[in-house]
Structures are given as C-alpha cells and as structure tokens.
C-alpha cells in the first residue's frame, strides 16, 4: 500500500504572506519560467517555482525553513518574465520579511518593525532617552543650545557664550553615548545570536541532500570565510544576479549596494578607532602606562581636525554612502509596480539610512559653521537614527547582513551552492 500524504494547508499563513508582499502569489500556474530565468537558481530543486506552490498550498513548515530565500538577491527577472504577474520575486522578499519578523526573539519588536504603525513606539525609545538627557544637561549647562570652550585646567568642556558647538559637551560621550550604545550593541548581538540559532535549527530540520561525487563536507568556518571573501567583499552572487536583459538601474544596484556596504565598513573603522583610542588610552593610563596611554588617547581624540586620516576616512565613508543610497533609491523609485513592489521593510531601511547619513553630514556642517540651532537637533535625530539602526537590526531588513551570511555559508556546507572558487 502506498502511504498517503495529506497536505495540511495553513490558510492563515497564506493570508499573512499575502499581507507582507506576496499578494499576487495565487496567480501562479506553475509554468516554471521563473526557475529557468533566475540567473542564480541551482538546477536541483530550483527556486522560486517550488516556493510559489508551497505558498499556494500554505505549506508553512517548508517555507519558513527554506534556505533558498536567502540565495535569491531579488533582481526581479522572474517577476518581469512571469506570464501571470504572480511576482515570485516579491514572494521571496515577503518570506525574508517574515524571517526578519520571526527569527529573533521578542516578537513584539518583530511586530512593531513589520508596519508603519510600529515606527512611532520604536523611535520613541531613543527619542525619550536622549530627550531626557538633553533636558537634564540643558538645566545643568543653562542652555538647550550651549556652546563651549576647552578648559585646560579641568581637562573638559566649559559652557561659555560665543564658544564652539561641541556635541560631547551636551551629550558627554563617557556617560551618555558609550554606555548606552554598548548596551544597544550587546542587545543586538543577543538578538542575532538567538535569531541565527533559530535559523540553523530550521535548516537542520530539512531533509538532507546526498551529493554524488562530492568530497568531504567543508567545515562551517571555512564556508563562512569563503562567503566573506566572495559573496560579501566581491558581491559575486549579487553581480551574477544581472543578466543581459537587466537595465542600467539594475546593474547599478549591485554597485550601489557594494558602495553602501563599504561606507558602513569605513564608518565602522572610524567608530572603532575612536572608541578604542578613547577607552584604550584611558585603560593604559589607568594601569600605569601613561606615555603610551597619552599617544593612544590622542589618536582617538574628538573632535578631530579635518586633515586627520580617520576624519578623512569618515568623509570617504559618507561619500560612498550617499552614492550608494542614490543608486539604490533611484532603482526602487523606478521599479515597475506591475512587476516588482517595495515593502515597508525596504522603505524603512532606505529612509533610516538616508536619515542617518544626512543628519550626520548636516550635524557636522553646522557644527563647523557654529550654527547651534541646527547642529544640536540634527545630532539628536542622528542619535535616534543610529540607535534604531543598531537596536532593531536583527528585526530589520538590514538583518540580512547576518542571516544571509549564515545562510550562504550553510548552503555551501551542505552543497546547495558551490564554494566561491569553484564557480
């Protein structure tokens, strides 16, 4: 007797999927055009046709544990050539959005991050924290827009009228910036740790593929390094996403994304140098190695002169970032809505990064010009933006920087995609 497999459709899940961007999935008639035209899809169980039928049938288990949603880089060729306008590309994007919502712990954040309704409460957390700090400091300094001069004797900033705009004077780094952001950072790491653990558990629950003629399975660390080397630093997978029919905006997408990623790396280095200079110098001085401590402190001392190499690196980062943002925004604005749509997750992230870059640049410019009335509020918004980017990272689209990296590495380990040098 043959065993009967009974399909248990999860209708609620189908509706959820339709709500988060897979609204046209029911139009699919399984012609498999999408799987063929996808430049990345492997030949064995290619995506996204199978995801379309799983979604129509409401096979939630298959979909939420599917590694293939992370192999897709959303070039949209499948949706462009889809004869039914079923938008398979949008379905995979919707599935990734569901992963951002459900992988990491604290489902309340996932829920708030999933629609515009959650924006206000999420922004309120940093807005209140830094609003209260601003009010307290204003009371202490006697002004909401204080200016400062360096007090050599006290080795600190002293509020004077007609002084300089100094963000560290209003929001002292040692007490109001660094401790809060260290906590935010740890919170983010915890979110990712739990998210990645859930993700790997899901992948491991999937049936294994036996690959004929494959040598020993590579270890996960080797796969991770390989992913960094190829897919991340060189954007190999992303570049392959373009075919001869891609238009100019599509081709600029991979480049724009790469530039934006390099911008973040530059700014990460800048932050790292400043933080380790400041706290490293303090630490060295504290344990008695004063001469070295002073040198290390000096490297990370802010505000930096404009010719300081680290400051120059920050400018490079800002320039790359704005270039990347323009390329990515231009493409998204010009997407043919009939073929490919943008979700709240897409616009939230783009807008947030734009906000951070523009307020960061604005705060810098008006600080140099000494316009306190604009410099401090912009810096305040900048702090809120950075807080939101970091604290909610595992629940946002930017979470792909961890989830996609892990998924691609895992896919290499199980042989779903080849190692970078075997392509």
């Amino acid at each position: 007797m043959s065993t009967t497999v009974k399909v248990q459709p999860d209708l609620k899940f189908v509706k959820e999927l339709q709500a988060v961007g897979g609204d046209s999935l029911k139009k699919c008639y399984q012609c498999a055009t999408c799987s063929v035209v996808c430049p990345l899809s492997p030949s064995d169980s290619p995506y996204p046709r199978k995801e379309m039928v799983w979604a129509q049938w409401g096979l939630k288990d298959r979909l939420v544990n599917d590694i293939d949603i992370w192999l897709c880089h959303n070039c949209g060729t499948c949706s462009t050539l889809c004869p039914r306008g079923a938008k398979p590309g949008d379905l995979l994007a919707a599935l990734r959005n569901m992963a951002y919502r459900n992988l990491a712990p604290l489902p309340i954040i996932g829920k708030l991050m999933s629609s515009s309704a959650g924006l206000l409460p999420l922004a309120a957390v940093p807005a209140l924290i830094y609003g209260i700090i601003w009010i307290i400091m204003a009371g202490k300094l006697g002004s909401f827009l204080p200016t400062f001069e360096w007090d050599e004797a006290a080795h600190g900033w002293k509020a004077v009228s007609d002084g300089m705009v100094v963000f560290g004077g209003l929001f002292p780094g040692d007490y109001t910036i660094d401790p809060i952001f260290i906590l935010v950072f740890l919170f983010m790491l915890w979110g990712f740790f739990a998210g990645v653990r859930n993700m790997l558990k899901a992948f491991e629950a999937q049936p294994k593929t036996f690959i004929v003629g494959r040598k020993k399975e590579p270890c996960f660390i080797a796969c991770l390094i390989d992913t960094f080397k190829y897919e991340i630093l060189q954007h190999t997978q992303f570049n392959e996403c373009n075919d001869e029919e891609s238009d100019e905006l599509d081709q600029k997408r991979a480049g724009g994304h790469k530039m934006l990623m390099y911008a973040f790396i530059c700014l990460m280095v800048v932050t790292g140098v400043v933080a380790s200079g400041h706290w490293g110098g303090w630490f060295l001085t504290a344990i008695g190695i004063e001469s070295l401590g002073h040198i290390v402190s000096a490297i990370g001392h802010t505000p930096m002169p404009l010719y300081h190499p680290i400051k120059l690196l920050a400018f490079v980062g800002a320039g790359l970032g704005v270039y990347g943002l323009i390329a990515l925004t231009k493409r998204r604005v010009n997407l043919d809505q009939e073929k490919q749509s943008s979700s709240w997750y897409d616009w939230y992230l783009l807008t947030l990064i734009w906000t951070i870059f523009l307020t960061g640049l604005g705060a810098f410019v008006f600080r140099i010009l000494g316009v306190a009335l604009l410099a401090y509020p912009l810096y305040y918004v900048h702090l809120i933006g950075v807080f939101m980017l970091l604290a909610y990272l595992p629940w946002s689209k930017l979470g792909h920087l961890v989830y996609r990296t892990v998924a691609l590495s895992y896919a290499k380990k199980i042989g779903r995609i080849p190692m970078g040098d075997a392509k």
């Binding site: 399984q30 012609c31 055009t33 063929v36 899809s41 030949s43 004869p83 039914r84 306008g85 029919e245």
Partner: protein
C-alpha cells in the same frame, strides 16, 4: 428600406462558411479578402482537425459552392478602407490592389518561368521561395496568377507579359477603390501567428533552427518548400531530436494574455507528422496539455508513442551552441530538476493573434486583446472573435451569417 446585401470581411474558413450560408438562402454576399486567394490559414496547413484532412479536401467543396452560386461575389487582394452608416445601411469603401493578371489566366505557369528572380514566399512564412509571377499553392482559388510588380524590374515585367500566350498579364492594372452598400457585416479577419521576434528569451526569431508551428506545417505540407520533408533550416539535415515548446507567447500577460486553444493539439498533430516521416525523438514541453472534448482521444493515442516524451515545464530560455543546435532550458515541474537539453530543431507553438490587432480601420470594436466584439449590424466570426479550431470556426461562421440575415431582414 434596409439593404439586403451582406459583406463578409475575410475569406478564410469562417468567412467562406458565413458567405455560403447566407448566399444559399438567397442573400447577396460580398467576400473581401486581402490575400490573392481564399482559404486563409487552413490553406497553409498540411492537415487540419478534426479528421486530419488535407486542406484541399474541405476547401475545394466550399470553392465549388462559391463557383456555383451567383449570389457570392469574391473580391481578392482588397481591404476595407472605411465604413459609415448604421445597421441595415452601411456604406463600405473597399480598396483593391492590382493583381496585374486578368480572368484570361489559365495558370499555365509560363509567366513564372519567364524570370529567374526568386523572393521569399509569404505563403510559406519565409521557409520557401516564389517567382515574381506566382501562384501561392496548387489549389489556389481563384486559380489565377499574381504578378509581384513591386519586386520586379521593368525588363522582368515585360518578360512576364510577353511569356503569357493568353494575353492575361495586364501591366496597366492600377487597382481600384469602390463603395459597397450593405445591410450587415461579418468580420472574419482571422488570425496571424504571434511574432516570434517578440519572444526574446526564446531566441527572438534569430536562432536558425528554431521555427514556428506554422512554418513546421509548411515543411510538412506536400506543396511546401521541401515537398513534405522535415529538414533543419540551417543545413537541410533531417532532425533526429525535435522539441515542441508550448505557450510560446500564449497565456502570457507580456505577450498574448489568453490561451490560443489549438496549439496543444497542433503540436500533438506535429508529433504525428514527425513520426510518419522519420524516427526522430520528440519532446513536448507544456504548462498544461489542453485537449478539449473529444480531442482527448487524439492525445491518448499520440501519447502511446514510445519516442514521445511530454514534460511539464515551460521552456523559458533557448540558446544556440556552436553547431547551431538549439539548447533549451526548462524546469521539469514534476521532478523539480532544471536541465539544459540540446535538440536538432525546436518548434515554437506560437499562438494566435487577431489579424486586426494593432491595425487601424478594422470594422467593429475590439477588446483589449484585439478580438472583434459583435456590434448591432457587425458580427465577428472565426478567430477574429476568439481562438478556435476549424470545426468551431465553421460553426461561428454559420452563427454570424444567421445574425447578419436577421439584421438585413430587420427582425
């Protein structure tokens, strides 16, 4: 007082049927046909459904009926230019292009032999050649040659004229424009194969050994360019492995947003043609194999062929290897495996596009896809109305004739 005449635009199977049905109960009918012959797409087939008859079979009976009925007036090489009036009282302007051959022609063929220049044959969809003076096919009706003055030099035209022993070539023919007063109009303008150049992911009509289903009909037809032998366009070799790609343009909102109804059956028929002529292995790639009604029997019988494989999955990419062999990429939706497979020849089952799609001046309103919608005194028949097979085309021709008669009678 309403006019009792009926105009039938298009002399294919639907138009001929509508015209004869109306004429044989006593109404005066004009058939205006853009080609030099009647019979439309059916005339270009090797065999047609439901019984796989050669087209001459059904058509010659109809031509007999037209010849014997003085109520039917056939106007070939003519198009409707403009239309005015209302149901019961239309005035239609017809423009007829010059044929340069008059009724004295006996189709002896001496004019064709007079020049050596050959041009691409429209009748063969570009697969064959024809002379400057030509008849499209052996059972052409009206059986009268056509002179292609646009492609001929003055010397060649004179040679053609001088070759005719019956004084049938009239180089002074200017064509003419005239008005017809009719009470009702049957639009039977039919269909054209969807332009393969628009299917860019399937080679866009540029790959030599990727042809359309109508071209395949011409290769298989005894009056076709190869005398009924299937051969690759690139080197004339007999293909050993042929792929049929269904829904090439049909059921696709980027191309034809509807099912063309007959292509699945046509491809299964092509499988039979192939197996009658050679030992080639055949694969049909489909989304859903649609064989409505009694055609299911035909599918079952064809499917039993061990050299035929049916694969569920739409071909979405075709490229050419160095030897000119087409390589198709398809995901078998039942096994979930995506493969590249090499063939000697690929036949695209291109769909039916209404002939009038995108053309101005057609009589009657059209829907978003270009199919003609019935009006008060204007009735669509055949594939101008919707994609149909020959049998249903004939039925719709009869139905349109009935409606046209009701209009001219006024009840």
């Amino acid at each position: 007082m309403s006019n009792n005449s009926i105009l039938v635009v298009g002399g294919g199977f639907a138009g001929i049927t509508a015209a004869l049905e109306a004429a044989e109960v006593g109404y005066e009918v004009y058939i205006v046909e853009t080609n030099p012959y009647l019979g439309g797409r059916v005339a270009q087939l090797n065999q047609y459904f439901p019984k796989l008859c050669p087209p001459s079979c059904g058509l010659e009976i109809q031509f007999q009926r037209i010849k014997n009925n003085p109520k039917v007036k056939v106007i070939t090489m003519a198009d409707v230019k403009s239309l005015s009036g209302t149901a019961g009282n239309y005035n239609v302007t017809i423009a007829q292009r010059p044929r340069f051959v008059n009724e004295k022609c006996t189709a002896c063929g001496k004019c064709e032999a007079a020049t050596s220049t050959k041009v691409t044959s429209e009748f063969d969809f570009g697969t064959g050649k024809r002379g400057l003076a030509y008849k499209t096919h052996p059972f052409m009706f009206p059986m009268r040659y056509v002179v292609d003055a646009g492609n001929a030099s003055e010397g060649e035209l004179n040679a053609i004229k001088n070759a005719c022993p019956y004084d049938a070539v009239d180089l002074d023919d200017k064509g003419k424009t005239f008005d017809l007063a009719v009470g009702a109009i049957v639009v039977a303008t039919g269909w054209k194969p969807y332009d393969a150049a628009k299917l860019t992911n399937l080679g866009g009509g540029k790959l030599k050994n990727v042809i359309t289903n109508m071209q395949f009909e011409r290769y298989c037809a005894p009056n076709g360019p190869t005398g009924g032998k299937i051969m690759r366009p690139s080197d004339g070799a007999e293909p050993k492995k042929i792929a049929f790609v269904q829904c090439a343009g049909s059921r696709d909102q980027n191309h034809l947003n509807y099912c063309s109804y007959i292509c699945c059956m046509a491809s299964l028929k092509h499988v039979r043609y192939t197996r009658e002529r050679s030992d080639a292995a055949v694969t049909v790639y489909y989304i859903d194999l649609r064989t409505p009604g009694r055609y299911a029997k035909f599918k079952d019988a064809t499917e039993a062929d061990p050299k035929l494989s049916l694969v569920k999955g739409k071909v979405a990419a075709i490229v050419e290897d160095a030897q000119g062999n087409p390589v198709v990429t398809v995901e078998n939706a039942l096994t979930g495996i995506k493969t590249d497979e090499k063939f000697d020849m690929v036949v695209l089952a291109t769909g039916m596009e209404p002939s009038c799609a995108g053309l101005p001046g057609a009589a009657g309103a059209t829907d978003a896809d270009g199919f003609v919608i019935d009006g008060e005194g204007i009735f669509a028949a055949g594939c101008a109305k919707q994609p149909l097979d020959v049998m249903k085309t004939a039925q719709s021709g009869t139905a349109a004739a009935m409606k046209a008669i009701q209009t001219v009678v006024g009840r």
